[in-house]
Symmetry: C2
Subunit: 200 residues, 2 copies
Amino acid sequence: MRGSPAIDRVIASLKRLPGIGDKSASRLAFFLLGAPDSLVADLADALSRLKQETVMCADCFNLGDRTPCPICSDDRRDDSLLCVVEEPADLSAIEKSGSFKGRYHVLGGTLSPIDGMGPGELRIGELERRVRSGGIREVILATNPNAEGDATAHYIGDRLRPAGVLVSRIAYGMPLGGDLEYADHVTVGRSLENRRKFSD
Amino acid sequence: MRGSPAIDRVIASLKRLPGIGDKSASRLAFFLLGAPDSLVADLADALSRLKQETVMCADCFNLGDRTPCPICSDDRRDDSLLCVVEEPADLSAIEKSGSFKGRYHVLGGTLSPIDGMGPGELRIGELERRVRSGGIREVILATNPNAEGDATAHYIGDRLRPAGVLVSRIAYGMPLGGDLEYADHVTVGRSLENRRKFSD
């Protein structure tokens, strides 16, 4: 009775997105009402096309506009390094860091028995096949530094052991620009355990 | 070269929304990629319809699905009380407080010469006509408690003086520099109850 069904529908749809609650959704909806038509139309159109114009790379399982994806088909990248990530967003974060020039393998999640995510739900079999097909010197496990990510990394480490490939894990420590005073105890502890010899 | 054009377009469109930066936009886009098709389709559809299914009430200038809006056509509301707000979102915030049962008048903004918003850009002439047409005992100025809202309230108070109507201002139960749209219901309600006679 207060708003219009059209406004309420936008608010309800926005509230289903992560990190957007009641007030943010309502604020965004009223912003969109006052925004130029083209802005709203662009957003609606971009959303409509998002899924139909996105394909999964058959090699690394990243999402993009073609398969193999630009990373898999880039000759300048190092075939002998394979970085294993949970999701395309993680791959994107690593690419933005500019510090990795090898190939990727997107698992599609983490092991989480409570959510019905077992090894069969992740692309671990595909990872094994890539490693066994040869040419890979090191597999870097870049799953997230939390309980699920750690468990998944341990599981994959065990699965890859027979293949005889070097398996590494991204480093744990203090984030750059961080503050010891405000960091959580576990991070501070890991940062101390994983200390390295200085200035060499 | 890294993502797909479809993903980049969604990220670019989301970044044009208030409060959504680089990381939130990218996080939302990847969430949408992994979300059920229906969720994404619902959102795109709701956005497409938002503007075409929203009309402005010819009496109070609120946005809704019909004109006159449900508030203007509700017989149980008090015709003698008129609450002046900046935007539909402010009206919505006052309605949620449940402490006002009169009518509304949506100005469409505040006076802001620097942004080219003069009295002619707001619905102040329409407000004068409503007041002069009679039956209104009190005009409550519920513009936001900030510099622009105060200036607009003062200007309207001056414009309405010849009409001989009681003009009040919502109380500073609102935190200074705050925004009606984001205040909690109780504060908005208190602020209405404690309104004072304006310009004395």
